[in-house]
């Protein structure tokens, strides 16, 4: 059923497409909203529409085994510098990926940033959380080669859990003379998982038929990201870590003896290590991600999962770029041979930049295992060790 939000987003996409067809150039707006003597306000935005088809399962897009257009993202941001060393910026975001998002318009970030100097700055408000190469831009299609990033790390359905938090961070870059430089970001704040998000979907999928998810609490998260920018041009290494001391959600399980509310308090922690090398038109990247869950209930086991990937990208010219990656996700390191719990993915992608503001991508995946499916209701039979996925996406940006 189309909601008003649905219609607005689709009309916005139509307007942008028409502008492209008529040759209108999308340009970032730079408006003097505060008068000719006031600071200019920069506006940018994008609209992405994708198509997903999977040979065997319904994955990411709803009903993707028949082809799904439920893969839409759009954002609009504004920023200006009201005072020296100060910047205020905000971004609204909406998305629909399968059963998550549902075009809810969310405040993606809204922050004040003060930079004392290159070595130290503060950012506060709702901020995008830094983690690895792609967490802070995992839903910005135009800023990368691939349509689908390695989903074991950058799950398109989990953005409400991973991408933003309400709090603040310190940041800066420290020169190390002959050893290059060290960039850092340390953050703390509250994450706000949504009942329409990936965490809610996974929890609901894991409950018995008589169970329901009632609510997910906001949770504190603390962490940091370091980047060593080495003296070798284009080479850098990163390390990230974080902890959610208490992650809690409320569920009700109907039993013959009456409703039962189990203890769902967990502690979660993660580590991520990254490497990137840019050489001429080549980009080489690799990351490894480890996540641990520690339930408070003694009867529930700790869970340790791991994802790693390696990727290569090559820019042929200003229009074409190609890339490929191989990734492995293990949902339980004690059962690495269980195809229900692992997902291995080999991907090839082609990006076409028709203009500065219009990008088109096509991508194929060969996947073994179903560890990331989550949607048990839509995928009652899992564990297939060899299935395909096609993704196509176009983005208009300014």
């Amino acid at each position: 059923m189309k909601t008003m939000k649905d219609k607005i987003i689709r009309w916005l996409a139509v307007v942008l497409v028409l502008a492209a067809i008529t040759g209108a150039r999308l340009q970032a707006a730079d408006l003097k909203l505060f008068g000719t003597n006031g600071p200019p306000v920069d506006f940018h935005g994008f609209v992405s529409q994708g198509f997903l088809y999977s040979s065997d399962y319904n994955y990411l897009g709803d009903n993707s085994s028949k082809g799904s257009f439920q893969f839409t993202e759009a954002a609009l941001n504004a920023s200006f510098n009201p005072l020296p060393r100060t910047r205020i910026s905000a971004q609204a975001f909406t998305y629909d990926v399968g059963d998550t998002g549902k075009y809810d318009v969310i405040l993606d970030y809204a922050q004040v940033e003060f930079t004392f100097n290159d070595y130290f700055g503060i950012r506060a408000g709702r901020i995008r959380r830094p983690q690895g190469l792609y967490n802070d831009i995992q839903d910005v299609d135009v800023a990368r080669t691939f349509i689908l990033l390695p989903q074991g790390i950058y799950d398109a359905r989990w953005r409400d859990f991973y991408v933003s938090l309400d709090g603040g961070e310190f940041f800066g870059t420290i020169p190390l003379k002959l050893a290059g430089s060290l960039s850092y970001e340390f953050y703390g704040g509250m994450i706000n998982p949504s009942m329409d998000g990936g965490a809610a979907l996974e929890i609901s999928g894991s409950l018995p038929a008589s169970g329901q998810l009632d609510s997910i609490d906001s949770a504190e998260e603390f962490g940091g990201q370091l980047w060593w920018n080495t003296p070798v041009d284009g080479l850098r290494f990163g390390a990230a870590g974080g902890v959610v001391p208490v992650f809690n959600f409320d569920t009700t399980i109907q039993t013959p003896g009456g409703p039962f509310n189990p203890n769902n308090r967990n502690e979660a922690a993660f580590q991520q290590y990254s490497a990137e090398y840019l050489w001429k038109a080549w980009t080489f990247q690799s990351e490894i991600y480890l996540r641990d869950y520690y339930p408070e209930t003694a009867t529930m086991p700790d869970t340790h999962l791991l994802t790693w990937y390696g990727s290569v990208e090559y820019r042929f010219n200003k229009w074409f770029e190609a890339g490929g990656y191989y990734t492995e996700y293990y949902g339980d390191l004690t059962q690495t041979d269980n195809s229900l719990l692992y997902q291995k993915d080999a991907a090839l992608a082609l990006r076409f930049d028709a203009t500065e503001w219009w990008t088109f991508k096509i991508e194929g995946h060969y996947i073994r295992g179903t560890g990331l499916l989550q949607d048990n209701a839509d995928n009652p039979v899992q564990g297939d060790n060899g299935w395909w996925m096609l993704a196509i996406k176009t983005t208009f940006s300014f």
Binding site: N77, S79, R87, Y109, D136, R144, D233, K280, E356
Partner: protein, 179 residues
């Protein structure tokens, strides 16, 4: 004349002797003796420095760095320039916002210089700044279609910096020397 073992033979060396014009035996130094290898390495390092330096100069030949006259600097180091173009430096020493402007003409006149300054090709540079903008960590550089308009933009925008062809009319802006 028969080759005889060197005077270092008591140390077990097997380097042969060489002979001067009077046929007097002279110990011949091997290529891999420590003093020689240090000298060779110094020569290689010197050549590398000259080569890299020459490459840097060659890539920025024909292109100059210009800034708005409000910018409190007359020169800039290559490292500081890279920090600006990679988003590590967002403000000038007096707190003014660094406003990067790019020449966005069809010929890619300044692309090579941009690559040399930032370490990124033109496409990756665009993607890099899109990441900065949509993650809330920076402001997108302004793109201007021709050199004259770019110079005019820099002249009228406080804190602006740009790479322009050296033959452009630089009226109203200040040129930064790269030190």
């Amino acid at each position: 004349m028969k080759m005889r073992k060197s005077i270092d033979s008591d140390r077990g060396d097997t380097w042969p002797l060489s002979y001067d014009a009077t046929c007097r035996a002279v110990p011949k130094r091997g290529l891999f003796r420590a003093p020689e290898i240090r000298t060779v390495l110094k020569m290689i390092l010197a050549c590398a420095v000259l080569f890299v330096g020459a490459q840097k100069v060659a890539a920025l030949e024909g292109v100059v760095v210009i800034v708005n006259k409000s910018v409190p600097a007359d020169s800039i180091s290559a490292a500081a320039l890279k920090d600006i173009y990679t988003g590590n430096t967002k403000y000038w020493p007096d707190g003014q916002n660094v406003d990067i402007a790019l020449l966005d003409d069809e010929t890619g006149t300044t692309d090579a210089a941009l690559n040399e300054v930032s370490g990124m090709g033109a496409s990756y540079f665009r993607t890099f700044w899109q990441r900065m903008v949509f993650s809330g960590r920076g402001q997108q550089p302004d793109r201007i279609g021709d050199a004259a308009s770019l110079v005019a933009f820099v002249a009228s925008t406080k804190g602006a910096i740009a790479l322009v062809p050296a033959d452009a009319d630089l009226k109203g802006v200040k040129k930064l020397e790269i030190k």
